[in-house]
Symmetry: C2
Subunit: 370 residues, 2 copies
């Protein structure tokens, strides 16, 4: 078991990573908790619901299972309202504990419910997907989607802890493992060239869910993200570099319809595009672009973007992103592997990167691997 | 003009109190704000909407007026959703400023919208009722009601500033002035016996809206509340003393139906009951109980509680309060005038206070003054 400590202005908490953490959840329950609501979806409940419930009940507290529908489409104010209504009907009080057992959707919506229920109660993250383990469970971003876009309503709110059980990934579809690995290599790209090289060497081990490789990759990812978040909890500055690949990725997700590509797949492909743009605007060597493309492919993510309806649609979709300031799109760019900066770019290089997506329209572009 | 600075873990901001602050609102707009949404209700808009809009536009920013229905009944998730939908449809970004122009309902719901729109944007409080000026605009409590109770969904979220214009109280019904003064004298009861004595001497001036008396009373109230909130932003301990009179008051509001008595009227009457309970359980001298009763009457609030359906209903309603821990009701009590503590009480004295409400059933009890 490895532990990573996260320190933010909004609170400090431990992330514990290892095999079998699920069965030790009772240890993470605060002694003064009144009751526990275990929030999950039917898919996760079938695999791990009863085990999690039993482990939490070891703390001696009453545990109530609260199931919400599966999938991004249900990460809405309506689902949030359902959670809040249930907690209030069942008279949960300020000392209760919410436990999020699931992927990013469950974590985001449960964390947001915890943030606004009785003006804030404690919650514990138990992420069951690789993406949630290395990304959405670290940093305190919570929220729901709106018809106008993703994550537009939410709060920065920190959990009291994150319990990551690497065993849980055995029931995860391999496509979701690849999508999660895209975020892992992202940390190497923006912060740690040595970790990037480690990922190149262990790409096959990671895809095969080798326990030691997974534990190291998850712990290092959480550590790198925790460092950034600790310095910039509310995303006023440095934290924006965590969005490397996300501006292009967001356009892919929105352009193809959310759910067509997995978020991590879109980010993986978006990182290749952002690397190309970095090469054209801030000096990233072409061999680094090539290494990023090769590693994204090696972990099983698409490297060729869909053309959408041409560069104009790309730009429109990217302008819908939350990070836009006064109409200007800002990109996370790499001056070198392991270092990132945020800036606007001239139109020429951007058009060049976007035009290149057209060339691939007739090929296999835009089709995630089976 | 007087300024009170509020320092909390969640941020620092100034409260400015004086005549004519409404026309100087432009000065409070941050230079980097992108746009302004001025949130108010039709009643306030009629009196002050255009003046506020013009003053804000002096900053050079675009100002959008956003009106929501008047009254506590509309402090709901539905109204909140309407505000968020409008901001998103009109493409407000992270650098926008929300301005709450109104009483506690407008302040609470606008502050909550600011807390969760794009995970948090800035907001400015411009309270137009005395109650909001001395209470709900200080301390960062935001939220909406739920069918299960008041303020059950919300967040602790601080404004960037509070602008209090004492002139605005001239259009306030006198019953609302009295209700606001109940919260003013509350600060004297729990924290400052000297300020309580000052209020006794100036009760008539305050009811007559004497500008100098008002400015002093509001500034001193904000200062006392700010001290408590600064030491305990999230109501884990000391802040609970601000609820003096509120446990009984909450039962009156809920028992008679919200809106029958004004919140401040219920709190005024609740303070008299809490003083009686203090006398029976922790040594508050009977002459202090009498002074509190006399001052509550002098500011124009009811001092005799309605019997409701007997002590049993009182207890049930008080148990519905958010402050209940593990089923036990905790009261804010005064061991002496100007000092407060929070504790549970034996059943005997509580029943004595509640039984006393029966004796008044046939008299004018429970009828707020015209």
């Amino acid at each position: 078991m490895q532990q990573v400590d996260v320190n933010t202005a909004g609170g400090s908490y431990p992330i514990r990573i290892g095999k079998g953490r699920l069965d030790a959840l009772g240890d993470a329950v605060p002694a003064d908790a009144s009751r526990i609501a275990l929030v999950t979806n039917p898919t996760v409940a079938e695999h791990y619901g009863e085990r999690a419930r039993r482990a939490l009940a070891d703390s001696g507290k009453e545990v109530t299972l609260l199931t919400v529908p599966d999938g991004e489409a249900h990460k809405t104010m309506a689902t949030l309202q359902h959670i809040l209504d249930t907690l209030l009907q069942q008279r949960f009080d300020r000392r209760c504990l919410l436990v999020a057992l699931g992927g990013g959707v469950i974590g985001d919506i449960t964390g947001f419910a915890a943030a606004i229920f009785l003006r804030g109660v404690r919650f514990l993250q138990v992420p069951t997907t690789l993406l949630a383990q290395v990304d959405s469970s670290v940093g305190g971003k919570t929220g729901v989607n709106h018809v106008s876009g993703k994550n537009l309503i939410g709060a920065f709110y920190q959990p009291i802890g994150v319990e990551i059980d690497t065993d849980l990934l055995r029931t995860l579809p391999s496509r979701e493992v690849s999508a999660g690995l895209a975020e892992v290599i992202k940390y190497g790209c923006i912060l740690d060239a040595e970790f990037f090289a480690w990922c190149e060497q262990h790409a096959a081990d990671l895809r095969a869910l080798d326990p030691a490789a997974l534990q190291y990759a998850i712990a290092r990812s959480c550590e790198l993200k925790a460092q950034v978040v600790g310095r910039d909890e509310r995303e006023s500055g440095e934290r924006a570099i965590l969005n490397f690949g996300h501006t292009f990725g967001h356009a892919i997700e929105a352009g193809l319809g959310f759910g067509e590509w997995l978020h991590g797949e879109a980010v993986g492909c978006g990182m290749v595009m952002a690397a190309q743009l970095s090469s054209l605007t801030c000096g990233l060597p072409t061999n680094a672009v090539e290494r990023i493309r090769a590693l994204v492919a090696a972990i099983g993510c698409p490297v060729q973007a869909p053309p959408l309806n041409g560069p104009q649609q790309w730009v429109e979709l990217m302008q819908g992103d939350k990070k836009v300031t006064a109409g200007q799109i800002r990109f996370v760019l790499l001056p070198e592997l392991g270092r990132a900066q945020v800036s606007a770019v001239p139109n020429g290089p951007l058009q060049e990167v976007l035009e290149a997506t057209r060339n691939l329209a007739a090929s296999s572009a835009g089709v995630p691997p089976a």
